[in-house]
């Protein structure tokens, strides 16, 4: 039986691969419409034009804006703005609000020598909007266009020529060249197709080509694959939010969706998972813009198979989906597998198209049989084991030092109390004081019981050797779990022995910069000095001999009769006195060099006059 499923699965997979491009979403028309409505208030002529064009495309109401048109600002010399203005007037039937000056710019553009295809397109469609765009010589005009195309054959230019052809009625030329242009589209990741130039060019080409073929009552030249790839590209652009982008996207998406057979989009509506309470999944099967797919019979929507990703077990096959009345919504009942949680791959087929969707069956889990024990590393003593039940906490704070280990054991059970494996079974050890945390992975044994052993001595390095209080928590989660469990078990105190730092000791901060501690220079302390009184007494003692001398001299009197009254004697003594006086001044304020400057002449005078004086004295003595 199982074998049979496998074989069938293989076939299905191969089908799925060949049509791997089935769409997984739609363009949200309502969102786009709100964007367009918001842009109606715009004062920019381009934005307003695209907003109105988009709303017309959606067949939504457009308010009367003829009055606004009269006052709107535009550059009459700018062909593009004139194009926007005139076509806006055409769309809103406000041609009467236009000023006649708008005619000049497009006419000039047409007469220009080096006119580009884009300018031609803008000019012709501007004139057409004014009711004047008649082309007299189709053949000649087309020839000229082809000449221009040869110079610059970008997809954008082809888009303009195709659009001009619609106007001139050379649709046959379009149909003969469209296929070649489509082949020139760029492919991304071999999933999506678009033309060089992005959304504007892609949109222009898709719309003109489909319109032209429709006008000629021919089937469009897109292969089914191309349609899907273009649709895929348009889907990737669904987050546009400018009026221009929205309108272009809408037009292109509608063109692709209107094409037969339309690309089918299968998307999960709402939740992508089932739980034991809600066991069904809703799919919307629509075309690109969210309309029901024509010609799709409800009985053609079948869940071909469902396999569990974890072990490839096939759980369902050929289960029909039920359609909700008047809605393109189909319901798949997964009642059968709601108890076996995991991620399932459902191969869903709508008509001839098959796609696979991943669906999660979410289960509730509980953490049970939690045992926390503290024991010696060498296992000499049996560990003391405490059991806790969710969501309680440890009553006592556990204590463990660097010779011990903390072991934690738990099992994860599903709703039916069966032990299960989960992707994430982590134990977090976090400091209660700082932001540090370390996470350990719990590993399951054969009986699916998870176990973590924290060897205190060896985990110290993960915790910066900071002894202190830590909190223990268990995190259990899985992509197939409806509510993951984060459970704070309680506090534990670690003591890392001699390696330990005190908690809170600043570690070397890795982060750049930061304020550094201030530094101040310690100046050398002034040397100790004796008391003022002591130095005054000593000064007096030092002055005493001179005073005593003077006193004695005064008492006994001195006879200076030998003093010769000659200039040299006077000068000598004055100069000597001045030199000595200079020392006093030096002490009081002069610098050494200034003092020497004064001293040198004084010294010379003293020397000369002293010499003279001594000569005189000797002469006096000998003459006696």
């Amino acid at each position: 039986m199982k074998m049979y499923f496998r074989v069938q699965l293989l076939i299905l997979v191969s089908i799925a691969v060949s049509n791997a491009n089935i769409l997984q979403g739609t363009v949200d028309i309502n969102r786009l419409q709100t964007i367009l409505k918001d842009n109606l208030k715009s004062k920019d002529v381009g934005t307003l034009y695209y907003a109105v064009r988009g709303l017309k495309q959606l067949k939504a109401d457009v308010p009367n804006i003829c009055e606004d048109l009269k006052t709107i600002k535009y550059d009459v010399k700018n062909l593009e703005q004139v194009f926007y203005l005139t076509n806006l007037a055409l769309l809103t039937n406000c041609q009467n609000s236009l000023k006649p000056e708008v005619l000049a710019t497009p006419t000039q553009a047409l007469d220009k020598k080096d006119v580009t295809i884009q300018e031609l397109y803008l000019a012709v469609y501007t004139l057409k909007a004014l009711g004047k765009g008649t082309i007299y010589d189709k053949e000649d005009a087309l020839k000229n266009l082809i000449q221009l195309l040869k110079k610059d054959d970008t997809p954008a230019n082809y888009g303009y020529v195709f659009a001009l052809c619609e106007h001139m009625g050379c649709g046959l030329w379009t149909t003969s060249h469209a296929e070649g242009v489509i082949l020139a589209a760029d492919e991304t990741d071999s999933r999506a197709l678009h033309f060089e130039g992005g959304l504007p060019v892609t949109s222009q080409l898709l719309t003109t080509i489909t319109r032209t073929y429709k006008a000629q009552k021919k089937p469009t030249p897109f292969t089914e694959e191309q349609r899907y790839k273009f649709a895929e590209y348009l889907l990737s652009r669904r987050s546009v939010n400018t009026a221009k982008g929205v309108t272009l996207l809408l037009e292109a998406a509608t063109a692709i969706a209107d094409d037969e057979p339309t690309p089918i989009s299968i998307a999960v509506k709402g939740k992508k998972y089932v739980t034991s309470e809600s066991d069904s999944i809703e799919f919307t099967i629509t075309d690109l813009i969210g309309r029901p797919v024509r010609n799709l019979k409800p009985e053609e929507v079948i869940a071909q198979s469902g396999t569990r990703l974890a072990d490839d077990v096939v759980v369902l096959s050929k289960q029909p989906l039920t359609q909700k009345p008047n809605e393109p919504t189909f319901v798949l009942n997964l009642n059968k597998i709601k108890s076996q949680y995991g991620v399932y791959k459902i191969a869903l087929s709508a008509g001839t198209k098959t796609t696979s969707v991943n669906v999660a069956v979410l289960g509730e889990i509980q953490v049970a049989n939690v045992e926390v024990g503290v024991g010696d590393v060498d296992g000499t003593t049996s560990p003391k084991i405490t059991t806790i039940t969710y969501p309680n906490k440890l009553v006592d704070k556990l204590l463990a030092d660097h010779m011990q280990k903390v072991s934690l054991k738990f099992t994860v059970r599903d709703k039916w109390n069966k032990p299960v494996l989960v992707q994430q079974a982590f134990v977090r050890v976090a400091s209660t004081e700082t932001d540090d945390e370390t996470i350990f992975v719990a590993e399951p044994d054969n009986t699916k019981a998870y176990k973590v052993e924290l060897n205190i001595g060896s985990i110290a390095k993960h915790l910066n050797y900071a002894s202190g209080s830590y909190s223990l928590s268990v995190y259990v989660g899985d992509s197939a779990v409806s509510s993951p469990v984060a459970w704070l078990l309680g506090d534990v105190s670690f003591n890392f022995g001699k390696d330990a730092n005190a908690v809170g000791v600043a570690r070397a901060t890795g982060a750049a910069g930061g304020r550094l501690p201030e530094l101040a220079h310690t100046f050398r302390a002034a040397e100790a000095r004796p008391a003022r009184a002591l130095s005054d007494v000593c000064s007096a003692l030092c002055a005493a001999p001179l005073l005593v001398l003077l006193l004695l001299w005064a008492r006994i009197g001195i006879n200076l009769r030998n003093f010769p009254l000659v200039p040299s004697a006077l000068i000598f003594h004055l100069a000597l006195g001045a030199s000595l006086g200079l020392y006093v001044v030096l002490w009081l304020q002069l610098t050494m060099f200034e003092a020497i400057r004064y001293l040198l002449p004084l010294g010379a005078v003293t020397f000369l006059s002293g010499h003279r004086l001594l000569q005189r004295l000797v002469k006096d003595k000998t003459s006696k």
Partner: protein, 436 residues
């Protein structure tokens, strides 16, 4: 002639202005230009000249004739196996060494080129196909693997210069985790995951210890190199997409955080402002130092002088250099080791001032301002001055304890002066006693 010169200067000036905003964008496919249009538009609106190139374009060049063509580089090409042209991880490293800025975003499928560049920049990217998973904080739009995670703005680095101040909306992230060496002081974890997150292949059971677990899982990392080149490396390209910018956020588990719009757009804009040097740039405008009470700067000071040091710092704000406001700018007075480190007082107009006494140790010193704060360019300025000992006249002259010496000297001098008279002119009173 004159007009040509003026025109020439004008053009040089313009190119100089533009050169700062020349940006090369390397993408996988042109589609990225559209799926990330809002991001690129915000850059263009701020004046960046974006040049889009396919990452495997055979004509890629970063520099011509030794001159870089771009100041900034954006790499949004996770699926690239090898860059085209002259660009490879070595060229990009050199580009950074020469001062270029880099913004790089990958995803779970990013190839080895990404890993190489990441490790050159000081981060490690997790293995291929590993993604950040958080079963506790995933968004409602998640595809079932719980890899589209909702990250609280609380997990952002506390650096308003980089991430701005108005980050209140939850952020959406889908991609691979980064591992950051916490000892590398140049690397900054801009956004990190919650404790419950880990980086692993979402399709397999956790058998080995994941490379990044809990808060150590860095989602967006940044680096400011010593040459002030800036790098932002995001594990998620989705982070910058229009979808992430516009998407409402609803957390499925836990506190069920809800928000009408994600904070991605604001943060992405702030990050680009920082990484391309629009914010957090400092420069020294003027430095001045002199003795207190004087006006003229001096190149030499005497020990124990009181010195006034002023530095004027400017910050680039909204494209203009404006006075910088901070209260933690420090000045060091260094002779091999700093002798004095003091916080500069803020004065009006971005002037910072310190008044301090020069140490009583002479030698060659430097005034050093080294302002290195998270998010700012490193501001470094040093001025060399010599500090000399006291001149002989500058010592104290009237020391009370030395008065005995002064008195002895002067009494000696007076003695000599007086004695010179006595010695020279003394006339004995009774010369006749002998004859008598």
């Amino acid at each position: 002639m004159k007009t040509t010169i003026i025109l020439g200067t004008l053009i040089t000036f313009l190119t100089l202005v533009c050169a700062d905003h020349e940006t090369l964008v390397l993408i996988d496919n042109l589609n990225i230009k559209e799926t990330h249009s809002q991001f690129f538009k915000s850059l263009q609106e701020r004046g960046y000249g974006l040049t889009f190139k396919l990452a495997d374009d055979a004509n890629l060049v970063l520099s011509k004739y030794g001159e870089y063509l771009y100041k900034n580089l954006i790499v949004f090409a996770p699926s690239v196996l090898e860059f085209g042209g002259q660009v490879d991880s070595e060229a990009i490293t050199k580009f950074i060494d020469d001062g270029g800025n880099l913004l790089m975003a990958g995803n779970a499928a990013a190839g080895d080129v990404y890993r190489e560049i990441a490790s050159e920049c000081g981060f490690q990217m997790d293995e291929e196909s590993a993604a950040v998973i958080d079963h506790f904080n995933y968004d409602v739009t998640d595809e079932g693997d719980h890899t589209r995670i909702v990250v609280s703005p609380k997990n952002l680095i506390k650096a308003p210069t980089i991430v701005g101040e108005q980050n209140t909306q939850p952020l959406l992230f889908e991609g691979t985790g980064l591992i950051v060496d916490k000892d590398n002081s140049l690397v900054l974890p801009i956004l990190s995951a919650d404790s419950t997150a880990y980086s692993y292949n979402p399709k397999s059971q956790v058998k080995e210890y994941p490379h990044a677990v809990g808060r150590k899982t860095v989602l967006i990392a940044a680096l400011q190199a010593r040459n002030n080149a800036r790098i932002v490396f995001s594990g998620s390209l989705f982070f910058f997409s229009d979808e992430a910018f516009n998407s409402p956020v609803t957390k499925v588990q836990g506190d069920k955080t809800k928000s009408d719009v994600s904070g991605n757009k604001i943060l992405a804009i702030r990050l680009t402002e920082w990484v391309f040097g629009e914010r957090g740039r400092l420069r020294v405008r003027n430095v001045d130092h002199h003795r207190q009470g004087e006006k003229e700067p001096s190149s030499a000071y005497t020990i124990t002088d009181t010195v006034v040091y002023r530095i004027e710092i400017e910050e680039l704000k909204n494209g203009k250099w404006q006075p910088f406001e901070a209260n933690d700018v420090q000045l060091e007075f260094v002779r091999i080791d700093p002798f004095i480190r003091t916080t500069l007082q803020k004065k009006p107009n971005g002037v910072y001032e310190a008044v301090f006494k020069v140490p009583d140790v002479w030698g060659v010193y430097q005034f050093k301002v080294d302002y290195d704060r998270v998010g700012y360019t490193r501001l470094y300025h040093s001025t060399q001055v010599s500090v000399r000992p006291l001149q002989h006249t500058q010592y104290e002259r009237f020391i009370p304890s030395a008065y005995p010496y002064y008195v002895s000297s002067f009494s000696m001098m007076i003695g000599v002066f007086l004695f010179s008279f006595v010695f020279l002119y003394y006339k004995e009173d009774q010369p006749k006693t002998k004859s008598e």
